[in-house]
C-alpha cells in the first residue's frame, strides 16, 4: 500500500551526524556507576604510608597553568595538573605497597588498623635512641629487641 511504502521511507530520517558524535562521546565519558575516588581506594594504605613511600618512580611533571583565553577548544579541565598529579601519586604509592606485598605479604595485612583500632603488629619494644659521638660527629643508634614471629616461636617449641 502507498501509505506503508511512505512509512518505510521514514527510515531515511536520521539524526545529525554531529549531534550523534557529541552525544555518543558525552554519554560514554559519563561515569556509569559511582566509582571510588583515588582517595577512597588508597585511604587504608595511606594511613600506613603517610608520605614515607613516594619514591619518585613516576616523574611528576608539574605543568604550569594554561592560559584559558587563547583557544576555547583547549581541554583544560581533563588535564588539570593538580588532579593529574594527585591521581599519579596515588598510583605511585600503590606501586610501592604492591612491591611491599610481594616481599612481605603480612605487611599489607598488618599495617593498617582494624576497625577497633587494635593492631597485631608483632613488634617488641623499641628502645629510644642513644646519641653517641664518633670523631666529633653525632650519631644516632637505634637498638631494638629482636622481634619474634609466630613461626620463630613455634620453631623454638619444636626443639
Amino acid at each position: 500500500m502507498e501509505l506503508e511504502k511512505i512509512l518505510k521511507e521514514f527510515k531515511n530520517i536520521e539524526p545529525r551526524a554531529e549531534f550523534s558524535k557529541i552525544s555518543r562521546a558525552t554519554i560514554l565519558a559519563t561515569t556509569r556507576t559511582p566509582k571510588k575516588t583515588w582517595a577512597q581506594i588508597l585511604w587504608p594504605s595511606l594511613r600506613f604510608s603517610s608520605g614515607a613511600l613516594i619514591t619518585g618512580f613516576l616523574i611528576v611533571i608539574i605543568v604550569g597553568a594554561f592560559s584559558t583565553g587563547i583557544n576555547s577548544r583547549v581541554p583544560l579541565a581533563s588535564l588539570d595538573p593538580i588532579t593529574l598529579k594527585a591521581e599519579a601519586e596515588a598510583i605511585d604509592i600503590q606501586i610501592q605497597l604492591t612491591a611491599l606485598g610481594y616481599d612481605n605479604p603480612l605487611q599489607v595485612i598488618n599495617d593498617t588498623s582494624t576497625p577497633s583500632g587494635v593492631s597485631i603488629k608483632k613488634v617488641a619494644k623499641i628502645i629510644p635512641t642513644e646519641i653517641k659521638t664518633e670523631e666529633g660527629k653525632e650519631t644516632t643508634v637505634i637498638e631494638t629487641e629482636p622481634v619474634i614471629t609466630i613461626e620463630e616461636a613455634l620453631e623454638v617449641l619444636v626443639k
Binding site: 556507576t33 581533563s78 593529574l84 597485631i120 617488641a124 622481634v147 617449641l157
Partner: protein, 263 residues
C-alpha cells in the same frame, strides 16, 4: 650514620625508613605508635622458657613440670595471636568491595577458608592442657607445617585479591581520565600529529595495564597465589603510571601547539 641492631622485622624496618623521610619528631611518634601496638609479644614468654630450661636450682622433675607449664602458655599465646592474625586477614578482605563477580566469588571462598583456619587454630587449643613435653613439640611442629602449607596460601590469596582490586579501581579512574581527555582533545586531534601520538601512547599503556590485570585475575580465580600475580599487578600499575605521564605530556603538547598558533 644509623646503626640498625634488628632482626628481620617488617614493621621496625618500615618505621625506620619512614623516619628517614619524616624527620625526628615523626621518628619519636612512630616509636610511640609501635610500642602502643605491641600485641603478640613472645619475647617475655620465650625468655621465661629459657630460664626454666636452664634453672640449676630445680630438680629434673620440677624442671620438666615448669618447662611444660611455660610451653603450654606459649602455645596458647601463639594460637591466640594466630587467631587474631587470621581475624585481621578476614576483616581486611571483608572490607574490600569487589565489582567483578568472579573475583567476588573467590573472595567469599577465601573468607570461608579463613574461617576454617580460625576453627583449626581453636581446635588445636582443646588438647593443650593434656599435652606432655613431647606432645607440645609435636603440636608446635604440626601448627608450623600447617601454616606453611595452608595458611600461607590464604595470606597470599588475600593480598593478591586486595592488590588486584586496587589496581582495577585505579584502572577505572585512569580509563575515565582517558575518556575525558579524548573527548577534550577530539577537536584538535585531527590537526595535531603530536596530540594524536601522545593519546595513542596513553591508550596503549592502558591496554597493557588491562591485559596484565586480566592475567593476574586468572591466578586469583585458580586460587593459586604466586609471585607472578603480584608482579603482574605491579607492572599494570607501572603501565598506568606511564599513561599518566602521557596525560602530563599531552598538557604540555597542547600548550605548545596553542602557542605556535598565536605566533
Amino acid at each position: 650514620m644509623i646503626k640498625k641492631l634488628i632482626s628481620f622485622s617488617f614493621l621496625t624496618t618500615t618505621l625506620l625508613l619512614g623516619s628517614f623521610f619524616l624527620g625526628d619528631t615523626s621518628k619519636t611518634r612512630a616509636i610511640e605508635e609501635a610500642e602502643a601496638q605491641v600485641f603478640c609479644g613472645f619475647n617475655e614468654k620465650l625468655a621465661e622458657l629459657i630460664k626454666v630450661q636452664t634453672d640449676k636450682e630445680a630438680d629434673s622433675l620440677q624442671k620438666i613440670k615448669n618447662e611444660l607449664v611455660v610451653r603450654k602458655e606459649l602455645l596458647n599465646l601463639i594460637i591466640d595471636c594466630s587467631v587474631k592474625e587470621a581475624e585481621l586477614l578476614k576483616t581486611k578482605l571483608e572490607s574490600v568491595k569487589i565489582d567483578d563477580k568472579e573475583v567476588a566469588e573467590v573472595k567469599e571462598k577465601t573468607l570461608s577458608e579463613i574461617d576454617r583456619a580460625i576453627d583449626y587454630y581453636e581446635d588445636q587449643t582443646l588438647g593443650i592442657k593434656d599435652l606432655g613435653l613431647q606432645g607440645s613439640k609435636l603440636l608446635a611442629k604440626k601448627i608450623l607445617d600447617w601454616r606453611s602449607s595452608n595458611y600461607s596460601v590464604l595470606v597470599g590469596q588475600t593480598v593478591n585479591i586486595i592488590t588486584w582490586n586496587n589496581a582495577e579501581d585505579f584502572l577505572s579512574v585512569a580509563d575515565q581520565r582517558f575518556l575525558d581527555v579524548s573527548l577534550g582533545v577530539s577537536g584538535i586531534k585531527e590537526e595535531s600529529e603530536e596530540v594524536s601520538k601522545v593519546l595513542d601512547e596513553a591508550k596503549e599503556s592502558l591496554e597493557n595495564a588491562r591485559i596484565l590485570i586480566a592475567s593476574s585475575k586468572k591466578s586469583i580465580l585458580e586460587f593459586a597465589p604466586n609471585a607472578d600475580t603480584i608482579e603482574d599487578v605491579k607492572k599494570a600499575l607501572e603501565e598506568l603510571a606511564s599513561a599518566y605521564k602521557s596525560f602530563f605530556e599531552m598538557g604540555q603538547v597542547i600548550k605548545d601547539e596553542t602557542l605556535k598558533k598565536i605566533e
